[in-house]
Symmetry: C2
Subunit: 265 residues, 2 copies
C-alpha cells in the first residue's frame, strides 16, 4: 500500500460539501469513486477540512492509501479523467509517508471570502461570490477586524451545531482588502470553528455598512454567545484556499506553500 496526498480544487455549487452524505453528491464520494474506477481499490479519502454545501476549494488537501506504487502524475491524471464531468480537479498528487494525515498533520488553514460589491448582480461570478449591492468600506472592515486577531474564545462566531470541544482558537490573520468590484477577506489559523469564517464575514459586513464599530466587534467577542455576532454569510463566497504542513510531513515532492488564494481570482 502507498499513501498519496492530493491537492484538490472544486466548485461547491450543487455539492453537499466535502463529506459523503446520503442526500447528494460530495467531493469525498466523487474522489472515492474515481479512485475505485482507476485501480479497483476502495479506500476512504480523508480531507483536511470539511467544507459545507456550496463552499469552494482552491487547495483542499486529502490523503488515501492504494495498492502498488503508481507514479503520482498517473494518479493525478487518472483521477481527473474519472472525475469528469464533476467540477472537481486534482491539481497535485504526491507519495507521502504513512505518518502523513491530511487533517491531523495540518499546521494551518487559509480561507478566502469573496464579497462582490457593486449595485448590479454578478453574471460571470454567480455562485462564486456573495453579492452585496450597497457600498462597503473595506478599510474600516480591515481596521476593525484586527480586534479579532489572536487567541480568543470564539463562541460568538461558531455555528450552534459546531462539534469542536473547545471554542478557543488563535486567529493568525484576518485581512480585508478591496480588489476592484470585490472585497477579499482572508483568514488564517491552525484550525477554525464551524462556520467561523462565514460568521466573521457576515459580521464584518455590518462594519463595512457603518452599522458596527470595532468596539461592537469586541463586545460581540466578549459575549461568547452566537446571538451577539452578525449573520452567517452565504456559502458561495467561501473558498478553502490552502492547507499548510510542516515541510517534514512530505517526502520532498515539490509542495511550494504558495498562497493559492491568489490563483484564479
Amino acid at each position: 500500500m502507498t499513501r498519496y496526498r492530493i491537492s484538490v480544487e472544486y466548485c461547491g455549487s450543487g455539492l453537499v460539501g466535502w463529506q459523503r452524505q446520503a442526500n447528494g453528491p460530495s467531493v469525498q464520494q466523487a474522489l472515492e469513486e474515481a479512485i475505485h474506477a482507476f485501480c479497483g481499490a476502495s479506500p476512504t479519502v480523508y480531507g483536511a477540512g470539511r467544507t459545507d454545501a456550496g463552499v469552494h476549494a482552491l487547495g483542499q488537501v486529502a490523503h488515501f492509501d492504494i495498492p502498488g506504487e503508481p507514479p503520482p502524475e498517473t494518479v493525478r491524471d487518472a483521477l481527473n479523467f474519472h472525475l469528469r464531468p464533476a467540477a472537481i480537479s486534482v491539481v497535485e498528487a504526491a507519495k507521502v509517508d504513512e505518518s502523513f494525515d491530511a487533517r491531523r498533520s495540518a499546521t494551518g488553514r487559509r480561507y478566502l471570502y469573496r464579497i462582490f460589491n457593486r449595485r448590479a448582480p454578478p453574471a460571470l461570478l454567480r455562485g462564486r461570490v456573495w453579492h452585496v449591492a450597497k457600498p462597503l468600506d473595506a478599510a474600516a472592515m480591515h481596521e476593525a477586524a484586527q480586534v479579532l486577531v489572536g487567541r480568543h474564545d470564539f463562541s460568538s462566531f461558531r455555528a450552534s451545531i459546531c462539534q469542536a470541544k473547545c471554542p478557543v482558537k488563535t486567529l493568525d490573520l484576518l485581512s480585508v482588502m478591496r480588489k476592484g468590484e470585490e472585497i477579499h477577506l482572508k483568514a488564517a489559523a491552525r484550525s477554525f470553528l464551524h462556520n467561523q469564517v462565514r460568521i466573521l464575514a457576515g459580521t464584518l459586513k455590518l462594519v463595512g455598512e457603518g452599522k458596527w464599530t470595532a468596539a461592537d466587534l469586541s463586545a460581540a467577542l466578549a459575549a461568547k454567545d452566537r446571538a451577539a455576532a452578525g449573520p452567517t454569510a452565504p456559502p458561495e463566497g467561501l473558498y478553502l484556499a490552502e492547507v499548510t504542513y510542516e515541510a517534514s510531513a512530505f517526502d520532498g515532492s515539490g509542495y511550494t506553500g504558495d498562497d493559492k488564494a491568489e490563483r484564479q481570482i
Copy 2:
C-alpha cells in the same frame, strides 16, 4: 421616447450568443423581454458586437428606445430584476442622445482570451477558459504576435461564414501575458472579423507550443487563406471586454473607459 445605453455583462454558457435566434436563449431576447416586463414597450435592442454562442462579455454595450424618461438607475435595476435568473447583468445604464448607436458609434473594441494552462483541468473556471494542458511559452507568443499588429488583410484569420465586406482591419493591440495559471491574450481594434480573435488565439497557441515561429505567422497572414492559419480556439475562453466611444457620443453620464478586462479576473 428616450434612448438608453447599457453596459452588459454575461456568461455565454448555455446561450446561443448575442443575437436573437429561434434555436435557444440569446442575450438580445433576454434584454428585450426584460424591457417589456419593465415598461410594456417592445423595442429592438442593438448591440455593439454580435458575440457567438458560449462567448462571454464583461462590457458589451447596447442601446434601445423606450417611452417616457425613467432615471437610468431605475432602468438598470428593473432590467436586472426581470433578467433573473439568466446570467446576464446590466452594469450601467445612461440616457444618450438619439444619434448614439451602440454599433456604429463605437470607435474600438477590446477582447480578452483566457487560456488556462496547467495539467489539471479547471474546476472553478470550467466554461470560462480554454484549458490547454501542455505548458505554453507566453513570452514567445507575445513576441511573435507583434507581426500581426497593424493594418493587414486578415483573410487567413476570418471564419468562412464572415459577412464583412472587407478583410482589411487594423489591429491596434495584440498582447499575451502569463498571469499565474492563466495566459491572457488581449486584442484591440476598431472592429474585428468573424472569429478573428479565436483564430488568433488558436494560432498563437501553436507558437506557445514551439511548433510555429513569427515567420510562420507572417506567412499565414500573407497567404490570405483561412487554411493557412491555425485552428479556431473554443468560444468559452473569449470575452468581449470593452467597447469604446468618443466622449462626445455621450451626454456626460459617467462613462469612464476603464479597461473592463481587468475586472473579475
